[in-house]
Amino acid sequence: MAVKLELRIDPVACDGYGHCAEVAPELFSLDEWGYPILRSGQVPTALVAVAKLAVKQCPRKALSLATAVDPPARRR
C-alpha cells in the first residue's frame, strides 16, 4: 500500500478563490462564502494526482498534502 496522504487547508491563507473546488470537485466542496470544505480526510489513491494539481493551483498557497496521521479519518 502506498503512503496515505491527506489534504490540509490553511484557513488563514485561504481567501476563497475556489480554484480547488473547480480543479478537484471530488475532494472539495465550498461553503456558502466560497471557502473549501474537505470531503474526506484522506485522499483516495486514484485522486492523488488531482489533489497535487489542486495544491499547485491554489492562488494563496493555502493547500498542502501531508502524510496522513492515524487514525486516518480526522473529522470535525
Binding site: 473547480e22 470537485p25 461553503d31 466560497g34 493551483q57 492562488p59
Partner: protein
C-alpha cells in the same frame, strides 16, 4: 553581417516588439481578471489563471526574441550587457534602458512565479506588483524608440493596449467590490451546509459580496 540579414533582424525586432506589446496587454488584463476572480461559470477561474500564466510565458519568449535580434543586429550598437543592465547601450542609452528595466522586472516576476511554491506568498505578491511598473515602462520604451510609432496604426494600437489595461485596472480598484463574487456550494434546504451536495454556482455579483465582507472578516491582502 550582410544588408539582407541585417534588415531581417531589424524587421524581427520591430515585429516581435509589437507582438510583445499585444501579449503583455493580454497578460495584464488576464492577471487583473485572475486577481478579481473573473470566471466560475462557463470558464472556470483556475482556467483564467492558467491562461494568464501561459500567455505570460509566450510573451517572455517574444521579448527575448526582440532583445536577441536587437543585440545580434549590427546596425544598432546594443551589446549583450544591455539586455540586463540599463544605461549600457551605445545606441540611445536612455530609451534602450527603459526596455532593459522593464525586462528585468518581467524576469523577476516570471522567475518568482515559476518558483512560487518554494517562496513566501508575500514575497511573490510584492514582486508581482512590479507588473504595474513594468508595463508602463515598456510602453514608454515603445513610444520613445519604436520605429513604427510614427504610423497612425501603431499609435492607435498602442492607445488601444494602454486603454485596455487602464480600464481593467480602473475596474479592479474602483468599480469591482472586494472580494469578487464567490463560488458557492449552494446548500440544500433540508441538510446542514457541510453535508450538502455541492452544486457549484456563481453567487450574485454585487449584493452578497458586501455582506460577506462584514459577516466573515478575513485577511484580504
Amino acid at each position: 553581417m550582410t544588408a539582407v540579414s541585417s534588415s531581417i533582424l531589424w524587421y524581427t525586432t520591430r515585429a516581435s516588439g509589437i507582438v510583445s506589446l499585444l501579449l503583455l496587454t493580454a497578460v495584464m488584463v488576464g492577471g487583473i481578471m485572475t486577481a478579481t476572480r473573473v470566471g466560475g461559470g462557463t470558464v472556470p477561474r483556475f482556467a483564467v489563471a492558467e491562461v494568464h500564466r501561459r500567455i505570460s510565458l509566450i510573451a517572455m519568449i517574444f521579448i527575448i526574441l526582440h532583445i536577441a535580434t536587437t543585440i545580434v543586429d549590427s546596425y544598432v550598437n546594443v551589446g549583450i550587457v544591455s539586455a540586463l543592465i540599463p544605461f549600457t547601450s551605445q545606441y540611445k542609452p536612455i530609451k534602450v534602458a527603459l526596455g532593459t528595466v522593464a525586462f528585468d522586472l518581467m524576469l523577476a516576476i516570471t522567475v518568482t512565479s515559476l518558483i512560487k511554491q518554494r517562496i513566501s506568498h508575500s514575497l511573490w505578491r510584492t514582486i508581482h506588483w512590479a507588473s504595474y511598473l513594468a508595463f508602463p515602462i515598456a510602453v514608454i520604451h515603445e513610444i520613445l524608440i519604436g520605429t513604427d510609432f510614427r504610423f497612425a496604426w501603431m499609435i492607435l494600437l498602442t492607445a488601444g493596449c494602454v486603454s485596455a489595461v487602464g480600464l481593467a485596472l480602473a475596474w479592479r480598484f474602483w468599480a469591482h467590490p472586494r472580494p469578487g463574487g464567490a463560488l458557492t456550494a449552494v446548500p440544500s434546504r433540508t441538510a446542514p451546509p457541510k453535508r450538502s451536495k455541492a452544486i457549484v454556482t456563481r453567487a450574485p455579483a454585487a449584493g452578497p459580496s458586501r455582506r460577506r465582507g462584514s459577516s466573515k472578516p478575513k485577511g484580504t491582502s
